[in-house]
Amino acid sequence: MDSGLLNVENLNTRYGSIRAIRRVGLTVKAGEIVCLIGPNGAGKTTLLGTVAGLLNPVQGQVVFNNVDITGWSPDRVLRAGLSLVPEHRRIFGNFTVRENLLVGGVTLSQDQRENLLEEMLDLFPVLKDKLSVSAGFLSGGEAQQLAIGRALMSNPKMLLMDEPSLGLAPVLVDVVFELISKLRDSGRTLLVVEQNAQRILNVADRAYVMRSGQVVAEGSASELSGSEDLFKTYLGGSGVAA
């Protein structure tokens, strides 16, 4: 097996009678940003959900940090060091921003939690003035930053992000991609599912392309972003990455 921080091998997951992902394999090395791109229904979210413990695979293996975490519950996966920023953010709208961040650090001691809270506020200064604001009243961009901050509050070894730009106004999409660049520069390991292939390929190191539940192409982000064939064949577009 490849010596990545995360190794997924021959993974198969079903939704009822539908096999949502088939024989999927991927590797993410420490310090890398890897993206998963592909059209709607390709199985990208299912793959992240399976890795994060939200779904049980019917076959295959998920190895994280040399530990087989296949079929572990989400809280156990998080304790192993893998944190997911879910699709649509799923922040706790009735909680204040501070409480949302504290929930993210529920597995830590109080001292660690307070220290990380300070770190998060340095990383996301926009949240600093809104600590006592109800999270349900944040703008989409602020909410996305909160969702990422909350996931980082567990001090994970690796972050999984599911469609971080989904549903955001174009100006806020820029904020999210700047944030991903910031995380890359701070040396974090990320696996990002993203519809906006051109934008994510600009900040990622490597990419996997999924279609109909399978990985159909992989390579370095620069290589894939220059491939017009890839966009035409798998991503329904004709342009290459800007």
Binding site: S73, L78, G93, L102, G104, V106, F137, S139, S154, L168
Partner: protein, 294 residues
């Protein structure tokens, strides 16, 4: 003057409903299930009171025992019954709660008695406190004060401890809470324990007044608790408390104000009022918001 007396009376009655409703709302929050077995905690508490009081224990010890027994019983019911249907369709969980309700009743009928058994009530509950022309029952004041302290304690627990934050997170979005590392077993067990504690405090005062234990002792309190939780808006903890107080007040005011010949219709009128409330506010008094902005 009479109105003030009735309001205090209503708040006293409503306090017990509020505690029961809050327990039901806590469970609903984490399991999305209306727990019709909640009344069995009162039934178990009633028999505990009967056995201890007839063995010569003082009410103060009995009150403590009731709270402990209710909290432990609640956790046991979760472990024995609800754990196995976690994540099952809502209907399955609802049927399970009915199953527990009828099973506990049947066990008491089979192994104890189908008849009600009386136990002594504390003398002080019949005392009154006269302020001018107002006669306040010490019992009502004790219930209200204890309830306020319990609610304050519960509020602090839910707002200022990691357990409370975890519980509220699980109530708002269980999967997201799970993703944050919150252990489902621990948070659900904690919810049942808290719900049992609240039911225990309610049981102490309910039983002080009723002074009897029987297999269906928990039916009426369960119904009141469920109604109060529905009135307040299922899923809202503050709504449950508000619903409890509202139900208690309306009941007492109706009993006091209705002509004697129709006072027996109080429960029926309360149900009509609740039905009317749901026509205009199907979500109950408090709406739970989950605002999503782009």
């Amino acid at each position: 003057m009479e109105l003030i007396q009735q309001i205090v009376d209503g708040l006293g009655r409503g306090s017990i409903y509020a505690l029961l409703a809050l327990g039901i709302a806590v469970i609903f929050g984490v399991m999305h299930m209306v727990n019709f077995a909640h009344g069995e905690l009162i039934t178990v508490s009633a028999y505990t009171s009967y056995w201890l009081l007839t063995s010569g224990f003082d009410w103060w010890y009995v009150a403590l025992a009731i709270i402990v027994v209710a909290a432990i019983s609640s956790v046991v019911i979760e472990f024995v019954a609800f754990r196995w249907v976690r994540g099952a369709p809502d209907f399955t969980m609802l049927m399970t709660s009915f199953g527990v309700h009828f099973l506990v009743q049947a066990l008491f009928v089979m192994y104890v008695s189908a008849n009600f058994r009386q136990f002594p009530r504390p003398d002080w509950i019949f005392n009154t406190w006269k302020i001018g022309a107002i006669n306040l029952e010490i019992y009502d004041l004790a219930v209200i004060a204890t309830t306020l302290i319990t609610l304050l304690g519960t509020y602090c627990l839910l707002q200022h401890t990691m357990f409370g934050i975890s519980l509220r997170a699980a109530a708002e979005d269980f999967d997201a809470a799970h993703l944050m590392g919150i252990r489902s077993n621990r948070v659900i067990r904690g919810a049942f324990f808290l719900s049992g504690l609240l039911a225990g405090v309610a049981a102490v005062f309910w039983l002080m007044r009723s002074g009897q234990a029987g297999p269906v002792a928990g039916l009426n309190p369960m119904l009141k608790g469920v109604l109060a939780a529905l009135i307040g808006g299922l899923g809202s903890l503050s709504g449950a408390v508000l619903g409890g107080f509202a139900l208690g007040l309306v009941e007492v005011l109706l009993i006091a104000r209705l002509p004697t010949e129709v006072v027996g219709l109080t429960d029926g009128i309360v149900f009509v009022l609740i039905a009317l409330l749901f026509v205009f506010r199907p979500q109950g008094l408090i709406t739970v918001h989950h605002v999503e902005r782009v």
